[in-house]
Symmetry: C2
Subunit: 401 residues, 2 copies
């Protein structure tokens, strides 16, 4: 007998029929003799609808009240899913974030989990109940509702799996696993049987859209065995776990991320401390920077370019613009019609030919590269957004066909 | 400076515009220097929509999960109303039932309040915040969400007013006060400036639809000054409080209740203990009985007739039918095409002419009476539902014109 944590996203519970489908997957695991803890997101477009309701009243509501509002989304799902399981004759109980409790810090709308008290869940499992937990939400030490922000439900699931020492954390999604590229766009994409945390992390943060990187980081930290599976088809998924390096595993996948904008700070004096100033300003505004490139300009000045996600573009440009004098820089430029395309694979670092092969594929397709960034297990390039899908395809086929 | 509790029902917060209207009423009280605690219901049809969602999945969901679901309704309202007040520049905080906490027993879907811990609310008031509390909901000692059932938000408001020792508990509704009859149906209906708890209690339980009797009972018990006011018009409402008896105040209002069904148990042996058995069976099923009439039948048997509200009719008939042998009765009959029409007034008991005047009005209109019930301050008659509106009008005009 095992303890299984299952997570179902919003599209998997979008209506009554889908909720019963999910209930069927839960019952399968329960009937095999497992203890089952289920994490669910808000149904379909519920979160967007709630945000629209809020915006109708206040364009900039406090994050505390926004969390009170948004947390109702998952609360609706847990109760409806519990009712479906009751209807099927199974013992079940739903728990909100504060009922578990999932204790977080007080950073509303992007709270970090601090502690999960497992006593209530364990006691319900002892009674042979299926436990349904609201994803994405928690409670801070003042008893205020918090939400975890993007990828919150995946994070809830992995954190619960870690706290409960679950045997596996199954993440059910629209796709049936992790592919070498987006299977909706690249026809030769192949499903991977397994992938390492680090590789998944690069793929997740690079826009593969299967798992959120925060949940994978957590899984790696606590060594939680994850499995990405299809909500709708009963086929094997992709296991995310510590994978031993095998020589042939050079490139594991190609990913594309359109949610990226480039900012260039032009004409910074070529003196020590200037780069530090730029990124310190951004860090203080909680702006995450991805690729950074520094180039020597003319007249003893340099240019610093970096990428941020789209919804931080405006803030980033503003903070740099306000501090142009402090930085001694001439101007700020930005563009958002760009994409990041990346290849990921744990065997890459020791094989310099990999990056060259990627660049060759892009050259063959006459796609221009704006920036390049590499790590132990990935190579990313910034290219025009309009070329991105084609780039993924040509790079993918270069490595996998 | 006073402490004011304001309660706004679902139709008063049905959309963004109405929420801002409510926010305006709150701000008026706050700007006068009052501490303001606000109780709100779910917006418009939200509760009905949630119930429909549940029924789509499970016709008979557990009451625990139903409460998890329904409590999201008020949670949405409190956050949106708080956002409206933030938008207007006022300090505000929303609190769910469990955040207050409003501690109840574990009788899900019709829980009773046990204790209200006021520390959190008091500390927010000390910070000069407007406090918005979700009506209708609480939490039991196991940390499970409960709801208070019908009239729950009124009850929340009065209970909070009692616990906080508020100076007044203002109940905002569609109508601007308590009338001598339903002003939408009786053109001569007159607004009352004040009314006693007992009179209001009879009017509430008799279907006047302004305040729920549970909240009035609570107000009477803790001597909470209530005021029924219009959400939309700024006019004086009706004060509900201890009112000294004045000789001329004979009849205060005429009310109609269509939510009533009559059950007759026919041919019960005329022996001691039989009536007890009937009502003990009903009590064990938590069925509330209103008017009771016992008549001697033929052959040493008697008939017992009583009224219940419509949604308990089926249960009541079933339990009696199952126990016909135990009761030694012949059969059960029921009809639901009836209404209860009542006159209420604290001066009534000492004036026997009042009931006669009511019956005269009905006789003049050729309306037949099925059952009669009287108390210290009311006279109720059961008549055919199709005559009910006319009955209210003729009785009203007999007394008030």
């Amino acid at each position: 007998m095992s303890l299984v944590v299952q997570k179902f996203g919003g599209s998997s519970v979008a209506d009554a029929k889908k909720i019963f489908n999910v209930a069927g997957r839960i019952v399968d695991a329960y009937n095999e003799g497992n203890d089952v803890v289920v994490v669910v997101s808000a149904m379909g477009d519920t979160t967007d609808d709630l945000i629209a309701k809020a915006k109708e009243i206040n364009e900039k509501p406090s994050r505390r009240e926004m969390d009170v509002l948004l947390s109702t989304g998952e609360q609706i799902t847990i109760s409806l899913l519990a009712m479906a399981l009751e209807k099927m004759g199974y013992p079940v109980i739903s728990l909100t974030g504060w009922q578990v409790p999932m204790i977080t810090d007080s950073n509303n709308s992007k709270a970090r989990l601090r502690t999960i008290k497992t006593a209530r869940i364990m006691s319900e499992l002892d009674k042979k109940k299926i436990v349904i937990v609201a994803g994405f939400q928690g409670v801070n030490e003042l008893n205020d509702i918090t939400t975890l922000g993007r990828g919150g439900s995946d994070t809830t699931a992995v954190a619960l799996a870690a706290a409960l020492k679950a045997d596996v954390c199954e993440i059910y999604t629209d796709v049936d696993g992790v592919y070498t590229a987006d299977p909706r766009k690249v026809k030769n994409a192949q499903k991977l049987n397994d992938i390492s945390y680090d590789e998944m992390l690069e793929l997740a943060s690079l826009g593969a859209n299967v798992l959120h990187n925060r949940s994978v980081e957590l899984a790696k930290k606590y060594n939680v065995n994850m499995e990405v599976k299809s909500s709708f088809e009963k086929v094997d998924g992709t296991k995310v776990k510590e994978v031993r390096l095998v020589e042939k595993m050079l490139v594991r996948g190609v990913a594309k991320d359109d949610d990226v904008a480039r900012i260039s700070v032009i004409g910074i004096p070529d003196e020590p401390g200037k780069a530090y100033r730029v990124f310190d300003l951004l860090a203080k505004k909680n702006i995450s920077v991805d690729i950074i490139l520094q180039s020597i300009g003319r007249d003893n000045t340099k240019d610093i370019s970096f990428t941020v996600c789209m919804d931080q573009l405006e803030d980033a440009v503003n903070i740099i613009t306000e501090n142009l004098d402090l930085l001694g820089a001439k101007e700020v430029k930005s563009r958002s019609d760009i994409s990041k395309v990346s290849i990921v694979g744990a065997g890459m670092a020791s094989n310099p030919g990999v990056a060259a092969k990627m660049f060759e594929a892009l050259f063959d397709a006459q796609i221009n590269i704006h920036m390049i960034s590499t790590s132990e297990i990935k190579v990313s390039v910034l290219i025009n957004e309009k070329n991105a899908d084609r780039a993924v395809e040509v790079i993918h086929d270069k490595f996998f066909c």
